[in-house]
C-alpha cells in the first residue's frame, strides 16, 4: 500500500458507521471490491453496465470498526453523459455526503480513468484510489508507479488484483487511515487562464448562492450551460467569453481538453513500459480476429449459445434421472410412507408428499441441466465474451434502430427479465431505452427454463438442448422483430451512435464462475421450488368445488370450478393444439401470468391430485433402497446415450408421435408422465412457444410500468399475448396442415390481417407522435 497521509496505527474510528462510496468507470471492478469488503455476492460481469442501481452493505475494517460501503453504477463523468444508471451515481456524488470517496481505477487503461479522477478532485472531498487490475497492466507491458501516483494526487493509492482478492488487507488498512486522516486531494496545476477563470467563478458562486462545493459548481456551470442558475448566468457568460477569447475554442471543449492534457501527462509520468505484451493481449488480438469478424461474429455468437444449451442439456441429462428418481424416492415415497407411519390422515399425506414433495421433486430433477447452463453463462460473462457479443450484435441492433449495448440487458434477461428491464437504464437515448425495455419480456428467463426442461425431457429427450436453444433463439428474434416493428412505426428514429469499449479476455477464476452459477441456481431452486411446492400443496388441500345440477357442490378436481373455468377457455387455445381434456394446460397458462414457475406448479398440482390414489399405494409400500439403486444405475445408462444428441441435431421427425415420446421420455414422475399423455410433441412445442412469448410475470410487468409507464406496459401485455397466440397457432396449424388445410389457411389469413391492422395502428401512432414532437419543437 502506498501511504500518503500520516497514519496512527491502531486508532479506532469514531462512533457510528462512516460511509464510503465506491466510484469508477464501468467495468473497473467496483462490485468485485464491494463483494470483497462486504462479504456479499452481488452479480459481477466482465462488461460495462452490470450495476445500474446503487447498493450498500456493511464492511468490517478491523475488530469493532464497521463502515457502510456504497457501490455506485459505473460513471465516466460527473458532468453529464451516459444513461440513467450514470445519473444515479452522479446525483449521489454531487448531492450526498460521504466520509470518503474511493475511486477504482483500471490500471491497464489509466489515462481514461484519470479523467474522472480530475473531476472527483474538484469535488474537494477526501479521496482514496484503488489501482485495480495491476496484473492486466503488467500483461500489457505497463508498470504503474503507485507511490508516484499517490504523491502527485495527494491521496493514498492501493494497488490490487480484486478478482483474486490480492491487496484486500492493504485496502482495509488504507481505508481506516484515510477515514481517520480526512486528507483532501491535491488540485491539478491547470493552465493559468483556466485556473483564474475557475477561481473567479467559484468565488462568485460562493458569494451569490453560498454553495459549499462552489469549485465543482464552477466546472459544472461552465461545461453545462443549461444547468446554470439564473443568478449566475451573467458571471458564467463573462468567464466563458474570456476563456474562449484566448483560444477560439468553445468552453464546452476547452475544459475537457484541460482534463485530457492532465490525464495524459500524469499517466506518462507514473507509467513505465516494461516490455512486450503478455499472453492476454496476444490471445485477445488473435481471438478477436475471429470473434469480432463482421460476417462470422454473429454466427459464432449463435454457435456459442447453441453449444451452451446443447452441452448443458445433454450433460445434464446424464444426471437428470438420478436426481429425479432419488428425490422422488426420498421426498415423495419415503416422506409419504413416514407420514402414514406416524398416523397422518390420507388427505394430509397426499397434500404434503404429493403436493410439496412432488413439487420439490420436479424442481430438483432439473438441477443438472439448469446448473450447467448457469455455469456456462457465468463462464462466458466472466471471460469478456459477452461484451464481444454486444459488439458483433451492434450492426444488427443498429439495423433495428438500437445501439449495440442494448444486448447487455438482453443477456441479463436470460437470468430474469426484471433486472434486464432496469438494465436498459444504461442506454442514454430515451427512444432506444423504451425499445430495449419492450424487448425484454421475450428473453427466456430462468423460470421459463423449468417449463422448457420439463417438456423437453418428456417430448424431446434426445435433442432437448436443440429445442431449448431454438426457444431462446425465437425469443431473441421476436425481441429484435419487436424493436424493428416499433422503430419503424410508433417509435421512429435513429439509434444514437456510441463508442463501444471491449474489456480484455480474462481466464475466469473457477471460484468466481462456480459462485455466480451457484448463486443463480440457489435463487432458482428456492424461488421456483417454493412457488411450485406451495401451489401443489394448495391444489391438494383445497376441496374441489364445482357447479353441479344442484348448484355449487363438492366435487373431484376434474369437475371443479378450476376445471370448468379452464374448459371454458380451451376453445381459445384449440387452434394451437390444446384439446378439451387438457384443461390443466390452460389453467397453467392463466395462473402463469403471475409468475412463470406457476405454470409447472399448477400442472404439477393438478396432475398429482388427479393421480392421488395411485400415489397412495406407493406411499404404503415403498422400496426406497431399490429405487436409489435404480436411480444410480441411470447415470452410466444415460451417459452411453449422450452421443446421440450430437449426431441427431434437431430430430423433429416424430413430432406427432405421442406414444414414442412417452416411451422415450422415461418420465418417471407423475407430472412428467401426465404431460406425455396430454400433449403431442407438436402441441408441446406450440405450448412452449406460447409460454415463451406471452406475459412473462407480474414482477416484469411492474418493472415495465415503472420504467416506461402504464401505456407501454398495457401495450406490451396485449402485444405479447397476441404474438404468443399467433406464433403458437401458426406452428401447430402448419405442423398438422395435411389434416385440415382449409382451417390452416383460414387461421393464417386471420393472423396476417391482425398483424396488418397492428402495423397500421402503430404507424398512425407514430405519425401522431411525430406531429406532437414537431409542435413541441416549433
Amino acid at each position: 500500500m502506498v501511504k500518503h497521509c500520516s497514519a496512527v496505527a491502531g486508532a479506532t474510528l469514531p462512533a457510528g458507521s462512516p460511509r464510503i462510496a465506491l466510484v469508477g468507470n464501468p467495468n473497473c471492478g467496483k462490485t468485485t471490491i464491494y463483494n470483497l469488503l462486504t462479504g456479499t455476492h452481488q452479480t459481477v460481469g466482465n462488461w460495462p453496465g452490470v450495476t445500474v442501481e446503487r447498493r450498500s452493505g456493511s464492511a468490517r475494517l478491523a475488530a469493532g470498526e464497521k463502515v457502510e460501503v456504497i457501490d455506485l453504477p459505473g460513471i465516466y463523468s460527473l458532468l453529464g453523459g451516459g444513461g440513467e444508471d450514470q445519473a444515479v451515481a452522479r446525483q449521489f456524488l454531487c448531492d450526498e455526503d460521504v466520509e470518503l470517496i474511493v475511486q477504482v481505477l483500471d490500471a491497464s487503461t489509466l489515462e481514461r480513468h484519470l479523467l474522472l479522477t480530475a473531476e472527483l478532485i474538484e469535488l474537494e472531498r477526501p479521496l482514496l484510489i484503488i489501482l485495480n487490475m495491476v496484473d492486466e497492466a503488467q500483461d500489457r507491458g505497463l508498470r504503474i508507479e503507485a507511490s508516484a501516483l499517490s504523491v502527485r494526487l495527494g491521496v493514498p493509492v492501493v494497488p490490487m488484483v480484486a478478482r483474486r482478492g490480492k491487496g484486500l488487507g492493504e485496502l482495509r488498512l488504507a481505508l481506516r487511515e484515510a477515514l481517520r486522516a480526512h486528507v483532501l486531494p491535491q488540485r491539478p496545476d491547470w493552465e493559468p487562464v483556466v485556473e483564474a477563470s475557475l477561481s473567479e467563478l467559484s468565488t462568485e458562486i460562493g458569494a451569490q448562492i453560498g454553495e459549499e462545493r462552489s469549485r465543482f459548481l464552477a466546472w459544472q456551470t461552465l461545461e453545462m450551460p443549461e444547468s446554470t442558475p439564473p443568478a449566475l448566468r451573467a458571471a458564467r457568460e463573462r468567464v466563458a467569453q474570456r476563456l474562449q477569447q484566448g483560444s477560439g475554442e468553445d468552453v464546452v471543449d476547452l475544459l475537457p481538453a484541460a482534463r485530457f492534457s492532465w490525464a495524459a501527462a500524469l499517466a506518462s509520468r507514473v507509467t513505465q513500459a516494461t516490455g512486450k505484451a503478455g499472453w492476454r493481449q496476444r490471445a485477445t488480438r488473435h481471438l478477436d480476429r475471429w470473434i469480432l469478424h463482421d460476417w462470422l461474429g454473429v454466427p459464432i455468437f449463435l454457435a456459442v449459445l447453441y453449444l451452451v444449451f446443447v452441452v448443458s442439456f445433454s450433460g445434464g441429462n446424464v444426471f437428470l434421472d438420478f436426481f429425479d428418481q432419488t428425490s422422488a424416492a426420498l421426498l415423495m415415497h419415503g416422506f409419504g410412507h413416514l407420514l402414514l407411519q406416524v398416523g397422518a390422515p390420507g388427505w394430509l399425506v397426499s397434500a404434503l408428499a404429493g403436493g410439496i414433495g412432488g413439487g420439490l421433486n420436479l424442481v430438483i430433477s432439473f438441477i443438472p441441466p439448469i446448473g450447467l447452463t448457469f455455469l456456462f453463462l457465468a463462464f462466458l460473462e466472466d471471460s469478456g465474451y459477452m461484451a464481444r457479443a454486444a459488439y458483433v450484435m451492434d450492426r444488427l441492433m443498429r439495423r433495428v434502430g438500437l445501439p449495440g449495448n442494448a444486448l447487455v440487458p438482453m443477456v441479463i434477461g436470460f437470468g430474469c427479465n426484471v433486472p434486464a428491464i432496469m438494465g436498459a437504464r444504461i442506454i442514454d437515448d430515451p427512444r432506444g431505452r423504451v425499445l430495449t425495455v419492450l424487448m425484454q419480456p421475450f428473453m427466456s428467463c430462468s423460470a421459463r427454463l423449468t417449463i422448457y426442461m420439463a417438456f423437453a425431457v418428456v417430448f424431446f429427450r434426445g435433442n432437448g438442448g436443440q429445442v431449448v436453444f431454438l426457444l431462446y433463439l425465437t425469443g431473441i428474434l421476436m425481441a429484435l422483430f419487436t424493436a424493428w416493428l416499433l422503430g419503424k412505426t410508433a417509435l421512429r428514429g435513429q439509434a444514437r451512435p456510441f463508442v463501444m469499449e471491449l474489456p480484455p479476455y480474462r481466464l475466469p477464476s473457477l471460484r468466481s464462475v462456480a459462485l455466480q452459477a451457484w448463486q443463480r441456481l440457489r435463487i432458482f431452486v428456492l424461488r421456483v421450488g417454493k412457488v411450485i411446492a406451495a401451489i401443489g400443496f394448495i391444489l391438494f388441500l383445497l376441496p374441489g368445488i364445482g357447479w353441479t345440477s344442484q348448484g355449487l357442490r363438492a366435487t373431484d378436481i376434474d369437475h371443479s370450478l378450476l376445471a370448468q373455468g379452464s374448459e371454458a377457455l380451451v376453445p381459445l387455445f384449440a387452434p394451437m393444439g390444446i384439446q378439451r381434456d387438457n384443461w390443466p394446460a390452460v389453467a397453467g397458462l392463466v395462473a402463469g401470468a403471475a409468475a412463470k414457475e406457476v405454470v409447472i406448479g399448477t400442472l404439477n398440482g393438478i396432475y398429482q391430485r388427479q393421480a392421488g390414489g395411485d400415489l397412495m399405494a406407493q406411499y404404503r409400500d415403498p422400496n426406497i433402497v431399490q429405487a436409489l439403486r435404480d436411480a444410480l444405475a441411470t447415470i452410466p445408462e444415460n451417459a452411453s446415450k449422450l452421443l446421440s444428441s450430437f449426431t441427431d441435431p434437431l430430430g423433429f421427425a416424430d413430432l406427432n408421435q405421442r406414444d414414442a415420446s412417452i416411451a422415450d421420455s422415461g418420465a418417471s414422475s407423475q407430472t412428467l408422465g401426465a404431460l406425455a399423455q396430454s400433449f403431442t410433441p407438436l402441441s408441446a412445442l406450440a405450448y412452449l412457444l406460447f409460454v415463451l412469448l406471452y406475459v412473462p410475470c407480474a414482477s416484469t410487468m411492474g418493472a415495465l410500468r415503472r420504467e416506461v409507464g402504464w401505456g407501454w406496459m398495457l401495450f406490451s401485455t396485449a402485444y405479447g399475448i397476441g404474438i404468443a397466440w399467433a406464433v403458437a397457432t401458426l406452428v401447430y396449424q402448419w405442423g398438422t396442415f395435411a389434416g385440415h388445410p382449409r382451417t390452416t389457411w383460414g387461421w393464417t389469413a386471420a393472423i396476417a390481417i391482425a398483424l396488418l391492422l397492428l402495423l397500421l395502428g402503430l404507424r398512425q401512432q407514430g405519425r401522431r407522435h411525430s406531429r406532437l414532437h414537431l409542435q413541441e419543437q416549433g
Binding site: 465516466y76 489515462e111 485530457f260 480476429r289 451512435p497
Partner: protein
C-alpha cells in the same frame, strides 16, 4: 491547450480521413482508451459520424475458390478485424 489529446484527435479527423480508434492512437501516440474517450466526447457533441466497418478477408490461392481447404493451395489469411471508423461530420458537409 491546443496540444491537448482531445484537440489533436479532432485535428487528425478534420484532415478528412475516416479512421479507427486504433489508427488514431497509433498516429498520435496516445493510449487507445484515451482515444475512445475523446471520440465519445466529439460524438456527444454531434461532430462525428460512424462509418460502416468493412472486413478485409485474405484470398486463397486456389483457382477453384475452395477457400483453402484443398491440398493444392495455400489457405487464406485469417480475416483482419476492421474496427468501426469515424469521420468528422463537417468534412461530409463540405
Amino acid at each position: 491547450m491546443m496540444e491537448s489529446p482531445l484537440f489533436r484527435i479532432r485535428e487528425l479527423l478534420r484532415a478528412g480521413e475516416s479512421l479507427s480508434p486504433s489508427e488514431i492512437a497509433q498516429r498520435l501516440e496516445l493510449a487507445r482508451d484515451l482515444v475512445d474517450a475523446g471520440l465519445q466526447h466529439w460524438q456527444s457533441r454531434g461532430e462525428l459520424a460512424r462509418v460502416q466497418n468493412l472486413t478485409q478477408v485474405g484470398n486463397s490461392s486456389c483457382a477453384n475458390r475452395c477457400a483453402g481447404t484443398c491440398s493444392g493451395c495455400t489457405p487464406p489469411a485469417p480475416p483482419v478485424p476492421v474496427e468501426a471508423r469515424y469521420r468528422w461530420r463537417a468534412q461530409r458537409a463540405a
